[in-house]
Amino acid sequence: MVQWSDSERSIITSIFSSLDYEDVGPKALCRCLIVYPWTQRYFGAYGNLYNPAAIKSNPLIAAHGVKVLHGLDRAVKNMDDIKATYAELSVLHSEKLHVDPDNFRLLADCLTIVIAAKMGSAFTCDVQAALQKFVAVVKCLWEEFNGTLLPEVLSVSTVALYYSHVNKCMNKKLKKKCAYFRFY
């Protein structure tokens, strides 16, 4: 069970309440895809990622960046039960999307850097320590679920969300090969 001090709680809440998710989310994800290009492997269906300019102007990447921050927001609002909050999302990313857990650390580092750029001198050592503890907890819980929960645990709504997303991205040839798509 993760222990949060009062000051850590207030720092995390204050950081996220003053963040513009529409700005920071896309910036963090773009930075991750540019600085660590191998992370692009998970975004094959997201269109043109050919160079930094293309990544920065890609609307699908921007939208996913915003989604990631809203996902983190759920943990901010449930800091005492992040494990349960992320149970389904964690299984989705590990069992279905097969994201290497170390890539979450890379994205977390990029998010830290974007927030540091936004806050400037207000991003003190204590603020950085609290933020990095928060993202480290999120990352550990992702890893904990990696391969330990069965896909059957996924709720119907999460599965539907996943497949409606993949539906839009995968081409018809691949769809025919995947038996799951018979249901959607």
Binding site: C30, R31, I34, V35, P52, K56, D109, T112, I113, V114, A116, A117, K118, M119, G120, S121, F123, C125, D126, Q128, A129, Q132
Partner: protein, 153 residues
């Protein structure tokens, strides 16, 4: 030709990366003391396990003057590394021997300090520290870390 091949094998920094590092360092170099103090303070604050390497100091908190002074020392070395970017292995040889035989710092910690350095650069230069510059600096620090680890075994 032989020397060029050897140099190419030593580091993965492209000519563009080196250019970016040199250009960005024209901004960061003059304030490298402040950068160093802040980076090391953040290292001990965010990654408390690194404090173990400084247990001979009376004060290992982020606000400690000893931490500040040592941060400056580290940044002087990074400054020198920028100047020797074409031959990091050769240029950092004495430091590599120091870290390998005397200090014996686990090389995984180089990555942590490099990350803290990136955070400081982002906070100090939010507009100039673009993703492209970030990548070049990240690669540079990885090359520096590799050169520092050269003598470990």
């Amino acid at each position: 030709m032989q020397q060029q091949l050897q140099t190419a094998k030593m580091t993965s920094l492209t000519a563009k990366d080196k250019d970016r590092v040199r250009t960005f360092w024209k901004l960061a170099g003059p304030v490298s003391d402040d950068i160093g103090r802040d980076a090391l303070a953040r290292l001990v604050a965010v990654y408390p396990q690194t404090k173990g390497y400084f247990s001979h100091w009376s004060d290992v908190s982020p606000s400690s003057p000893q931490v500040a002074r040592h941060g400056q020392t580290i940044m002087k070395a990074v400054n020198d590394a920028v100047a020797q970017i074409d031959d990091l292995k050769g240029g950092l040889l004495p430091l590599s021997e120091l870290h390998a035989y005397t200090l014996r710092v686990d090389p995984s910690n180089f990555k942590l300090l490099a990350h803290c350095l990136m955070v400081v650069l982002a906070a100090m230069f939010p507009d100039e520290f673009t993703p492209e510059i970030h990548m070049a600096m990240d690669k540079f620090m990885a090359a520096v870390s590799l050169a520092l680890s050269e003598k470990y075994r």
